[in-house]
Amino acid sequence: MSNDRYHTVGKSILRRGAKERLTGNPIFCADMEPENALYLKAVRSRHPHAGILGIDVSSAMSVPGVVQVFTAKDIPGKNLMGIINKDQPLLAEDKVRSLADPVALVAARTPGAADLAAAAVSVDYDPLPAVFDPEEAMAQDAPQIHAKGNVMVQKKVCRGDVTAAFDKAHTIIEKTYRTSAIEHTYLEPDAGIGFPDEDGTLVIYASTQNPHYDHKEVVSLLGVEDHAVRIIQAATGGGFGSKLDMNVQGFIGLALYHLKQPVRYVYTREEAFLATAKRHPFVIHMKTGADETGRITAMQMKAVCNTGAYGSYGIAVASRAAVHATGPYAIDNVNLECTAVYTNHPFCGAMRGFGTPQMALAHESQMDLHARALNMDPLEIRVLNGVKKGTVTATGQVLTDSVGFQDCLTAVQPEYEKAMKGWLSEPTPAYIRRGVGIGGMWYGIGNTGVQNPSTARVAMDREGQVTLFTGCADIGQGSTTVLSQIAGEALGLDAMDIHVVVADTKYTTNAGATSASRQTYISGNAVKQAADKLADVLLTEAVNYLKIRKSDLRLENGRVFDSRHPEKQVAFSRLAPRILDKGGELSWQGYFDPETVPLHPDTGEGIPYSTYAFACHAACVEVDVLTGETSVCRVIAAHDVGKAIHPENVIGQICGGVAMGVGFALMEEFVPGETISMNDYHIPTAADMPCVIPIIVEASEPSGPFGAKGVGEPALIPTAPAIINAVTHALGKRIYALPASLERVLDASIASGHFNNCYQES
């Protein structure tokens, strides 16, 4: 859709907050230094699984500079946290379940004293047998981590008759895929500060993706009234899902409650690595059947994901994994099951894609295996099977609008063909083999089959100044800019002319989590609704003032004018007092909850999401057959985002997603108990980045604000499968476990014969 009809939507305006960041304003918690702030430090478990017989804080208390050492018994409210299922104590009570578990919290005048005291806390542990492998944890006699058993949840999606379909299938492919635990490695380690307000309110600034959830959780931990706690999201240097959990917020709340004095807690990179959520490692058994034309007729999928010691977002990961297992393909007969299991690893939680990136490795590998078995082109088999308008998904949902998967395939095709025909056959040194691979994906916007509303308020003052109040945490992706554009468009204002109040529980209402790629779509709609209500009030008053019917009136540049005679106009600042003086309302609330239907517990039938994003990536790689080094040269990334409200932001998400996908594909692996920091955990550097060619596809979503959906998580999902398919194409040998490290790629090269045949003896 052309951007000309829009005033600000579709334009890459200057991002809100850019200036503050570029000029180094103290907007991040680590840079905020309230006077006389105490330093907090958690004491963490020394055992992956152990009973706690006693905690002795006396020698810690005698360290000079120590103000207080807290244990579980100091928590006045409910010592239990978790956004979906509550299973995680702020401070361990009777036992520890992983090396990350906090058992005590020190408050001291200096960081040094806090460290010394933390080391001096003596805990009497009774070590218990531990279990780390999720499949072992499911055994009858496995050590029990939680009273309810080690199987946290099992999610199923069934449709059609899988057995019959396999019986009739022409080709059946059955494989097992494995993915690694991943650390989010956001730029800014978790941080927060807190202080008591003049009226005694406990004010907490935090690096967070969900201030309103933090608020609920701190209130519950402290057992206080809602108004006793105020959470303000500080500038947040990335989150990728890990800042959806309570990382420092609870500690700050606890210390503030007791000490009534400013406190701060800034994780070191090491603590952020140890103590925050990881991406769930998956084991995926997938079996698919195709007819002789390449149409996939059946899929059976059984996955086990390791949620570690606590649930965090694990239940959401399991259900999303089951729902997304088919990928963006129409498969009539499915039997899909994902089980999330507790182990004694540090907990896993949300990370960009919630289980979908793991599933995409499996379904995209299967697609290529079928294509190969039938001698089809990988793009062709995806076109054949790809969802379209009218496709019925595994959960029985009919896709009616904004189904842009085929458009994404079409969009990458020219570059893909160029690579296959030209680039592949260019001369290279004998030790380099080139490959081209495709990865497709779909991603449901918002939470799976549950209500997940957002609210917003748009208010105009007597002078005509508009302020947008939103609880939506901008974590670097630019939601505040996009929401301002949406409000601006509805009111005919420049986005920058709107004041914003963002993610402050004293002034904003709940917008839900900045996760599930939901904020542009869901909060965008809430904002638009509020702005539309305000616009309507202005128009109504303008009718009265200008004596022109509403349908001829337009809003632009802070005024209402007659579209036929633009000189007939009235400024908002004139309308506002007139409305107020008549007792009218200039402050409007918006609310949007996407239409979903809860999934049936046995069959998964229902409507998990009201809309989906789609994407296709093509990756061009070079593999060194002698060493296993892999270079990703080029990624062509087509994304159906419905409508790009801010195209540069979309491109930023795509490029960042590709970077994360390169890491997931080739190098990232968090090994609990071994991985300590960025010294031994490798994420891609600029030198590892391919040339990215982003392509924005806009299959307009009727229920979206100006047609928009989302892109945050989709950006990452197709990259790793595209790279793995490209490496396979290069070597003629497939890798089934991520990351495709030096070791795994060299193994594949040896197995394929390329290692030995690289240089021929004459």
Binding site: T110, P111, G112, D115, A430, Y431, D624, V625, L626, T627, G628, E629, S631, M667, N679, H682, P684, T685, A686, A687, D688, S741, L742, E743, L746, I750, F755, C758, Y759, Q760, E761, S762
Partner: protein, 289 residues
């Protein structure tokens, strides 16, 4: 957290004198790219930090009049190694290693002296220094002594230096070889510790036979290694694919002899052969030119 006193001597004598009195209580600080990491991890607590960055005499690079000996001050940064024509011409493999060393920011700080003194098996300057039969000139109150590079480390991260010792410079057998290279394998393209590295330089005679060759393997073994057997295999021969395959096999065998079969050998045994082949194969054409 402990406090440290930072000493900034203006010349070598002051530094040596301070080390004479406080050596065991002192960390020598050059670029700090290893030391700051170690200090932060809490591995060491010594009361003094001796900052060598103001000592100009540690930063000189000189070639002897007969062009046989190249002297590189311990305080020379990797950025300078990357840009100085003298090093590019007379120690080309050392020059080459500076391209893939860490990142530009680290190279601006990191010194060759720190790289060697840190005694990490993965130091990228080590194989190039070994093929130039480098010696470290080490100063202390008793005067200067020379330590061959192959004797600098007692084991992984165990330097043969005494706490009173300051590395002043390295003396290399300068050479403008017909063929030279440095290659490494890391887990990513920048800011990656070498999993494996190697350096070579060679000359040929008029028949295309190898008349001179030096080869060193890095990062795979606890201490620096010059691979004499590999050198002997090539000497006097015209490189062929067959010879290179043979050399690769021999290299792997020698490596396993030194390290034994640890789990990482599953990768290193083939990879060392692969990297060797990749690096040496161009010799086949070069010798036939």
């Amino acid at each position: 957290m402990t406090t440290m006193t930072c000493i900034r001597p203006e010349n070598l004598d002051e530094a040596v004198d301070f080390l004479h009195h406080h050596g065991p209580d002192t960390h020598i600080l050059a670029g700090g790219t290893d030391l700051m990491v170690d200090l932060r991890s809490g591995k060491h607590h010594r009361p003094y930090l001796l900052d060598t960055s103001r000592i100009d005499s540690l930063k000189t690079v000189q070639i002897s009049d007969d062009l046989s000996r190249l002297s590189i001050g311990s305080g020379v940064t990797l950025t300078r190694i990357n840009t100085l024509p003298l090093i590019k011409d007379h120690a080309p493999a050392l020059h080459k290693c500076s391209f893939t060393f860490a990142s530009r920011q680290i190279r601006n700080m990191a010194t060759i002296g720190g790289n060697v003194a840190h005694a990490s098996p993965c130091g990228d300057t080590i194989p190039p220094l070994v093929i130039h039969e480098a010696e470290a000139v080490v100063a202390n109150k008793d005067g200067n002594r020379n330590i061959p590079l192959l004797e600098m480390n007692k084991g992984a991260y165990q330097s043969a230096l005494h706490p009173e010792d300051l590395v002043v410079k390295f003396i290399l057998q300068a050479r403008q070889p017909g063929f030279s290279d440095f290659q490494k394998i890391g887990r990513r393209k920048a800011l990656a510790t070498s999993r494996m590295s190697m350096a070579v330089m060679a000359d040929k005679d008029s028949q295309g036979c190898i008349s001179f060759i030096r080869f060193s393997l890095g990062a795979c073994t606890p201490t620096p290694q010059r691979m004499h057997d590999v050198e002997s295999l090539f000497t006097g021969k015209i490189p062929s694919v067959k010879l290179i395959n043979q050399g690769a096999g021999l290299l792997a065998e020698k490596m396993v002899e030194i390290t034994g079969r640890r789990p990482s050998i599953t990768y290193k045994e083939p990879a060392v052969q692969g990297l060797f082949k990749r690096m040496i194969y161009p010799m086949v054409t070069w010798c036939r030119q």
